[in-house]
């Protein structure tokens, strides 16, 4: 047998991870890992939320306190997402198009809310905006405090989503618009912004999904006052503490739906857009 034939066969076999042999082993290992870590526990939440029957599920989910917590969570998350859409785009713009001393440090700082543990984030905000504030601003235990903490933890999402798109944007499109008589505001509104919208939407979806589930940064600053500053994640925690795991699971299912709907919607939009775009 010639060496050429041997090496080509070996090459063809080992270059591709096909659905046989060790390809199947890899698939198996990954499936086990994902199933044990993610699928099994989440399935337990969904299934066991109906441990007491569908009536009990409905009762848990529609209790006054649960509804209040869910409604507040939804409202404050939407508000924070909307603010992020503006602030995040603005910050991305300044970081990409502007020059000033210390810009690199500021750019690195954007990831701080991601790197910092949420409990520390809460403590940090409490120092400046709580009872011991040196500036006298005390918004602890208010709904505004919840909003503030959520703005902190969701800061990086829109910024980091928009930045690369802004950097890749064809400057000549803006010059063409300018040569046709458009003012800088018009250029931004009609040329730049439409091309940023997909990135902004993507960042907002991620920010929203993060906001609805946030827990650690809210524990200290919000006071967790039922019917006022209590968010869904804290409500779930309290239910668990009061030995009502089924009720906790029921509300968890609703919370999961919030973020899943948004994320699936985002993927669907991206899929549609990539087919529409072409070149």
């Amino acid at each position: 047998m010639s060496t050429a034939a041997v090496t080509t066969r070996a090459g063809a076999r080992s270059a591709h991870l096909s659905s046989r042999g060790s390809g199947a082993l890899a698939l198996g290992a990954v499936t086990v890992w994902l199933s044990v870590i993610v699928v099994l526990p989440l399935a337990a939440v969904v299934v066991r939320s109906t441990d007491g029957g569908l009536d009990a599920f409905w009762t848990s989910v529609s209790s006054r306190q649960a509804v209040s917590a869910l409604r507040f969570t939804l409202a404050v998350s939407l508000a924070v997402t909307a603010i992020n859409a503006f602030a995040g785009t603005l910050i991305a713009w300044v970081l990409v198009r502007d020059e000033f001393p210390g810009k690199r440090a500021v750019n690195a700082l954007i990831d701080l809310p991601f790197a910092l543990p949420t409990i520390v984030a809460g403590l940090t905000l409490l120092a400046l905006y709580g009872p011991t504030s040196p500036a006298g601003i005390d918004i602890a235990y208010t709904q505004a405090a919840v909003g503030l903490a959520l703005l902190f933890v969701t800061l990086p999402f829109v910024v980091r989503s928009v930045q690369p798109v802004l950097m890749e944007l064809d400057r000549e499109m803006e010059e063409a618009a300018t040569s046709l008589g458009a003012s800088p505001a018009t250029v931004f509104g009609r040329i730049v912004l439409p091309n940023l919208v997909p990135a902004i939407v993507s960042g907002c979806a991620l920010a929203f999904a993060r906001a609805v589930g946030e827990f650690g940064s809210l524990v200290l600053i919000s006071g967790n006052i039922p019917f006022h500053t209590q968010v869904a994640s804290v409500y779930i925690f309290k239910q668990l503490e009061s030995d009502n795991p089924t009720g906790a699971a029921a509300v968890s299912v609703v919370l999961l739906l919030f973020s899943l709907v948004v994320l699936i919607g985002l993927r669907a939009l991206e899929h549609r857009r990539s087919r529409h775009d072409g070149a």
Partner: protein, 318 residues
């Protein structure tokens, strides 16, 4: 018309334009011709107002346009890579300049239809740029620029990103368009063939300086210096002089003004014969002869011949 008065432009340490003065006649199609990095695109962008000169003035139709920003100069600009608004349809692209001037819808639609007809894109008005070929995108870009009825049309290597065949077609098409529309046009290119074919006047630029301005034929036959001569056509170096290869004459006998050379190879290329010579200093020189000329001379490798030129005027010093 456009008048550039001693325009200077610097990028850091690099002097992109050095005191360039140029007049672009009304209604002409002038080519800015030069190699990469010569400053021709920079000059075009200075005319457009996309770059501000560090010295000198830009005068358009008698007014000093130097302090006027790009959006108010009334110029149309076409980019090498089209700069199409990729999120808008062809129709919306072409209509853009009119929409931001708040013209009435009926007016805009009529104008867009007219322009799309001129650039032969009428059936494509609902398509997106990504669905068009390069040549079609560039025609759209031209329509877009013409929509605002600019007093000056500026084209920055408009065909540079296209295939050779498309380029040739669009070149001819641009010339016909210009003859019809008659807008003062400035075209930047590094392709001398393009400049010669399309332009009424050519301005040759090298290293930020204007080398020569004139009609294509004048530049070819009466180049001001060696750079212009070698940029605009083939050159052969005969000792200390540059001549056009087709002006070379080979004789078996010595002639006044001719140089001695030895024939190294005689290559028969069908109906032409290439004679590869070596001059006295060893420099190679290739001369094209017709079959008849070659057989009349009866040259074989190793023979000594004399090579001179028959140019009507003095050749350029190399």
């Amino acid at each position: 018309m456009i008048y550039l008065d001693a325009v200077d432009k610097r990028f850091g340490d690099h002097r992109a334009l050095q005191s360039v003065s140029l007049e672009v006649p009304e209604g002409s199609l002038t080519a800015l011709l030069g190699p990469s990095g010569s400053g021709k695109s920079t000059l075009l962008r200075v005319i457009a107002g996309l770059e501000a000169p560090d010295g000198g003035r830009v005068i358009i139709d008698g007014e000093d346009a130097t302090p006027v920003p790009a959006q108010r100069r009334g110029i149309g600009f076409v980019f090498q890579h089209y700069a199409a608004f990729k999120h808008m349809t062809v129709r919306e692209n072409v209509a853009f300049g009119l929409r931001i001037r708040r013209r009435r819808k009926a007016q805009i639609d009529a104008k867009v239809d007219e322009l799309l007809d001129i650039v032969a894109l009428s059936g494509y008005h609902k398509r997106y740029p990504s669905q068009l070929s390069g040549g079609q995108r560039q025609r759209m870009a031209l329509a877009r620029a013409l929509a605002i009825e600019p007093r000056v049309l500026l084209l920055d290597e408009p065909f540079g990103a296209l295939d050779a065949k498309v380029r040739a077609d669009l070149r001819a098409w641009l010339r016909r368009l210009h003859d019809e529309v008659r807008v003062t046009t400035v075209l930047v290119t590094h392709d001398q063939e393009e400049a010669m074919e399309v332009a009424d006047r050519i301005a040759v630029i090298n290293e930020g300086r204007l080398e020569q301005v004139g009609a294509p034929r004048d530049l070819y036959e009466r180049p001001a210096n060696g750079f212009v001569m070698s940029f605009l056509g083939p050159v052969a170096r005969l000792g200390e002089e540059l001549v056009r290869p087709h002006d070379l004459r080979v004789t078996a006998e010595p002639r006044a003004g001719a140089l001695e050379a030895m024939a190294e190879r005689v290559v028969h290329l069908g109906f032409e014969v290439r004679l590869e010579l070596a001059l006295a200093d060893g420099a190679p020189l290739a001369v094209q002869l017709t079959r008849d000329e070659a057989s009349a001379l009866e040259i074989a490798p190793g023979d000594i011949v004399w090579v001179g030129h028959t140019a009507a005027r003095d050749p350029i010093a190399a």
